[in-house]
Amino acid sequence: MNGLTARNNGMSGWEKRMASNIQKLKKIKQFIPLYLMMLPGVLYLIINNYIPMAGIIVAFKQFNYTKGIWGSEFIGFKNFEFLFKSPDSWLITRNTICYNFAFIVIGTIGAIAVAVLLDEIKLPFAKKVYQTIILVPFLISIVIVSYIVYGFLSTETGFINNCILKALGKEPVSWYSSPRYWPFILMIVHEWKWIGYNCILYYATIVGIDKGYYEAAVIDGANRLQKIKYITLPALRPTVIILTLMSIGNIFRSDFGLFYQVPMNSGPLIDVTNTIDTYVYRGLMENSTLGMSSAAGLYQSFVGFVLVLGANLLVRKFDDENALF
């Protein structure tokens, strides 16, 4: 640095500026290989993510495949008017939010409980076995999950009708046409698939807690519950906040497979299984409702975005360190 200033001393202002520009160019030039490395990723993100973001304008158009997004006629908020006047808009919003809310609450409490319990187990081998097994459902694709659910619920050959209800002397239930059971079925299936995954997230945080805290607590005469209450749970707070924040940002999104494939797209169940994602997909398949569907898609993206910004803002206000950005 000293050498540089010494050399600069003998130059005029113009020369100095040129020199500093050349310096800057040289600095940028040395990074060209790094930019080149990022090029494929940047191109992919532009194509796969950013161009469709511009394409949300389709929600304001009377879309026509031959004319394309840009050529189609502009109709302002008509699609939104149709969407919000239809009873569907209320139903899909209610379903999406209620299910997600239940998933967040049950999922978080369940996962923390299991993680704390897993940490208390002393046998290393048993710990490893439990951890391995509860993660298996996470690896199974939702399509296969729908087969497993069918194995339990099929009216003729299902395990529940044939083995459980028969043994109890009860009449078989036609599960795929009885909407009142499905909120519970979907919650159980979702919890089954994700408990191992969520549990591992919290367990990793618990393992990372400094053991010294626990030793000190024992010296002070703390019992197991007190240790959990005053050390483990507060240590989990940042993880809970981050994960909940991300879930809130996604509260307008739903696992399409869970709501479409697992109930086998069954008509009688539609009132309890239709979410924004399944609605948008069904609209894509039938052209007549494409306009409303694209409006629903934009509604989903926009509200989700506002929610995540809002949630982050709240966290930043009360607990600055743990905000997402």
Binding site: K27, I28, F31, L34, M37, M38, P40, G41, V42, Y44, L45, I47, N48, N49, P52, M53, A54, G55, I56, L117, I121, A126, V129, Y130, Q131, I133, I134, P137, F138, L139, I140, S141, I142, V143, I144, Y147, F152, S154, T157, F159, N161, N162, I195, L201, L243, G249, F256, G257, Q261, M264, D277, V280, Y281, G283, L284, L290, G297, S301, G304, V308
Partner: protein, 295 residues
Amino acid sequence: MVETRKAFQVIAHIIMIMLALFCILPIILMITSSFTSEDALILNGYSFFPSEIDFTAYKYLLVDSTDIIRGYMVSAVVTVIGTTFNVTVTTLFAYPLSRKNLPGRRFFMFFIFFTMLFNGGLIPTYIMWTGTFHIKNTLLALILPNLLMNAFYVFMMRTYFTTNIPNAVIEATKIDGAAEFHILGKIVLPMSRPIIATVTLMAGLSYWNDWLNGLYYINTDKLYSIQVLLNKMLLTSLFLKSGLGKQILGSVGETIPTSAIKMAVAVLGALPILIVYPFFQKYFVKGIVVGAVKG
């Protein structure tokens, strides 16, 4: 004190065993059902203890039909090509982000982070891929949309690079005159095997399990991956109408084990992952932990 501690351990084990059973029993039901003879299934339904073991369903699927084998081939090709591209693009994007002195680093971080916050949604994406890029009913439709790059994996790798590769090492090799690509290939990558294994497994899992791209963009049965085939078989009576059904109906005059076939085909779809998983369990766990929390 010792007594209560022991009692607590016992209770903890009992709860964990029940949870493990809750997680694994449904998968076992799927497996046992696939081995059950059709007569027993019609009589007793799917059960954990088949009264009559029978492999006809697998014979139909693997010997008499070409659909499953073709589905496996499509899935394998897509998974290998897709995962290779994913890991390459992710590594190449994550490494420069780990270099603190890179001009514009914050911009590029935001550029990828924003894709996690906002997206165009299904309809514009669908119109673009089919209208502009014409990938409908090509193998590319199973590889390109959404799965090729994931912001989570990029952040995961970047975090690994920044925390595990000392800046001094990179600086030293640069002074020696090594080019950036050389540094990445010869210095950084050999030090990053665990994270590469993790990203490879997670990306491979998402390609193997993907059925949405197939659902949206594929409607010729030649290009059905195993997951898409599974989806179509459950929701439509596809396998009675098209290839598989014809072959089964056309073969010997036995009863078709449709109920067992349903479970056997699901077992075949999950099998590769269930086989691979125990060997790579720790990488999966690492991937989940690093990806979600530090992302």
